[in-house]
């Protein structure tokens, strides 16, 4: 059979068609805890089918999320598209997932903001409990790996053991390792047996926890080279509040003096002139705001090649 590429663009072939679902990971930070917007008591993410009335994929997503949660979306970016394989073969579902960043506001009664670390306790390297959970899981995974050196190396990379540093971006890789080892509830669901002792963390319906992990990986990577963190901040904030927000997302404690210098050297923020009202402990801090001029700017990115000067 020969197939004409141009035709593929212009014509529908047979009546074959699939459902397309839009699914959102909506993230906010309040009280310096990262939160995710959920339905059904925290077991599912907002989602809905893409329909012909939608002007675009993102447009459809915004409509569904606002309808289901009462929360309007600000910053949105696409995460990943996948075909659901756990379904009958008759009609397939394509899921297009999105990451949205926002400031928390009161959602409808049907929706709730959940602490993101409820789903991934081992990801919170700021808290002793989180570090303990990670260490415990690493030990169990090492046992599971047995003498498979490839797996063992993977465990070391993912959980920062045997001298390697903890890499906070590997949220998805860690979740997938747990899944493969059968240590998350989702891995054994529908197989008709009660799983052996499972890693801590609340499970979600279908593969929503995996999507959440994908979003977290993306976000933790992205805050390092794009100023998306400000999508999660109020209009004005102190540098320490900014730091606490980054720490909440990254799950890593940061070095205060160096963090300040980093922020200041990048010219990302400007002083508002105001100070935090007193009444709190400690010395009053200057308030800053994000330099709006930068929101559109796409300048410097991370790593470089050893280019030759012109």
């Amino acid at each position: 059979m020969s197939y004409d590429g141009a035709e593929a663009m212009m014509l529908s072939n047979d009546g074959e068609s699939v459902r397309v679902e839009l699914i959102a990971v909506v993230i906010a930070v309040s009280d310096f805890i990262p939160r995710v917007l959920t339905l059904e008591g925290g077991t599912v993410l907002p989602a809905g089918p893409f329909e012909s009335r939608h002007r675009s994929l993102q447009g459809g997503l915004r409509i569904w999320v606002e309808q289901q949660t009462g929360h309007p979306l600000g910053y949105v970016e696409q995460l990943y598209t996948f075909a659901d394989r756990n379904r009958s073969t008759a009609k397939r579902t394509i899921s297009i997932s999105y990451l949205a960043l926002t400031r928390e506001s009161r959602p409808l009664a049907s929706a709730t903001w959940q602490d993101w670390y409820d789903y991934f306790p081992w990801e919170n390297q700021c808290s002793p409990a989180g570090r303990a959970a990670a260490a415990d899981i690493a030990a169990r995974l090492r046992q599971w790996a047995g003498d498979d050196t490839a797996r063992e190396a993977q465990v070391s990379v993912c959980f920062g053991s045997s001298g390697l540093p903890w890499n906070e971006e590997l949220v998805l890789a860690r979740y997938e390792l747990l899944y493969e080892a059968g240590l998350v509830a989702e891995a054994t669901r529908g197989h008709g047996f009660i799983p052996s002792p499972v890693a801590p963390g609340v499970p979600m319906e279908v593969d929503h926890r995996r999507i959440l992990a994908t979003a977290a990986s993306r976000l933790r990577a992205k805050i390092k080279y794009r100023p998306v963190i400000f999508e999660l901040m109020p209009e004005s904030f102190t540098l320490f509040e900014l730091q606490r927000t980054v720490e909440a997302i990254a799950g890593q404690p940061l070095h205060k003096p160096n963090f300040r210098r980093m922020v200041e050297s990048q010219n990302l923020v400007e002083e508002t002139g105001a100070m935090v009202g007193s009444g709190l402990r400690g010395r009053p801090a200057k308030l800053y705001r994000f330099r709006e001029a930068l929101r559109s700017e796409r300048a410097s990115v991370g790593t470089r090649l050893p280019v030759v000067r012109a």
Copy 2:
């Protein structure tokens, strides 16, 4: 109307459905020129509908590309998913685009490898012609921007004028700027008028050139922090061949001594022990191979936060 998120996952709503198309940007480098696999004499990318017989999205893509071009795919990653808006409202098309990296081999007669820079001449900052094209376009865009300072800043960032360095990753941003300014043929197509003098570069059908630009942006960014460049290399190679390949992709001349040190310091390659057979110009070089152990490794990534040491 209230909508139940869990239901959205489990049920099909009305008969509403869309076509899903898989589309591939297949890249190889030969003679140190980046090539893209095309059909129809270079005007379209390999593509085909997602069908129920496909076991996965990537699987379907592999089948279509192999069928249309005779070329099997190696490394594949997802690029972006978008809804086509240039179509009748009756049935929508969702396009899921992929980037594939491979070594060039002889395709079917219906398919051809095209020099990537034929589509984006201004992206080749290794060649004087490319630099001239970029300078010319920048001048025309500056004229188009007029006294809109936001647009002017955008031109400066994208084309590295007014003191800013050229950023090779901004392939998509540059293309979109040209599109907005009406300087590419695609922008004015179907509007029933002949465009004013258009930027150099071969146009493609529908939005395929935009997808190609998306792929190039992703690839140029990715070679800096993941060893994907080796997907484009033969089994063994000299360091200079590796450099020339990176230069072909990045469109930037690199500094030889520093490039060697960079590669060696990252332990990405190992000597094969062999040397290039003589008969060429210059001193014979050592041959290297990619350290396969690293293919699965997901270790170090680019930028860092000022973490506090444990």
